[in-house]
Amino acid sequence: MCGDSAAHFFMMTTATHNEAQTIARILAGEKELFHDLIRPYERMVYLTVFAMLKNETEAEDAAQDAFVNAYRYLASFRAESKFSTWLTMIAINQARQKLRRDKKVGFESIEETIEDNDGEFTPAFLTDWREVPLEALERKELREALQKAVTELPDKYRQVFSLRDIQGLSIQETSEALNMNPGLVKIRLRRARIMLQKSLVPFLKNTPPAYRRFGRAQ
């Protein structure tokens, strides 16, 4: 092995693909490499805890705690799961502890498997969607409406939706991180998506394309 740690340091800043090696080196004493190891996952961990805590300040603290824990327990990471999945699990755990400490019910009902009837999860119709061009997605109000709609999802749906659709995890990774059956992940995801479609469609409908460029007071 090359002994020039400064050269190594700079190499490692770009070499996110070789996490196993980086982890081994951190454990062997090159602790500063931890900064680089986690850089690609900052957003992912923050959004994971934000989906559960729904509060920026609390989410920021919980995300920091999660990374500190990941650092402390790095030696217990086993390469059976992806490092990103392991981090997500730590983040979920951190947020759960916070919810429990604050006595918020939160995600305790996560084990239930008998789901409600699908009947209530019906999408909203819109016949003029094609008249709303993709560029409409650039509108700030639409982003804000989406943020609000996601916050208003029931906890169990928001959590799955956040991991899969906001953070871009696969169904498999989502089910691993939540320790949940992939079938249940898919059901919850489907419902979350339909609920969001439903809450955003009226918003799109009520915004005629001609007025898109002008600010409207709600």
Binding site: F34, E42, A63, R143
Partner: protein, 85 residues
């Protein structure tokens, strides 16, 4: 198999994820060809997911990364040479 609209709605999420059986996928596509309602639902759902995945929609707070790395640096510094575990 001929699908009605309700069936199609049940499949839209999996269809977007490309996780329906090829046979069902074909049925869905045949339905979408003539059904404006389901096509609009599919398009709107898909666009919402595009917006969702856009990093500008869900952002980390300003200064998050800086604070995080400062905290990690403290942690790394106070860690005894041998490590905790």
């Amino acid at each position: 198999m001929k699908l009605d609209c309700k069936h199609v709605w049940g499949y839209i999420s999996d269809y977007i994820d490309n996780s329906v059986d090829p046979a069902v996928r074909e049925d869905i596509e045949r339905h979408l060809e003539h059904c404006e309602i389901c096509s609009a639902i599919l398009d709107s759902t898909r666009n919402i997911l595009i917006l969702t995945a856009d990093e500008r929609t869900f952002e980390v707070p300003v200064g998050f990364s800086e604070k995080l790395h400062r905290r990690l640096e403290e942690e790394i510094k106070k860690d005894p040479e041998s490590g905790e575990k």
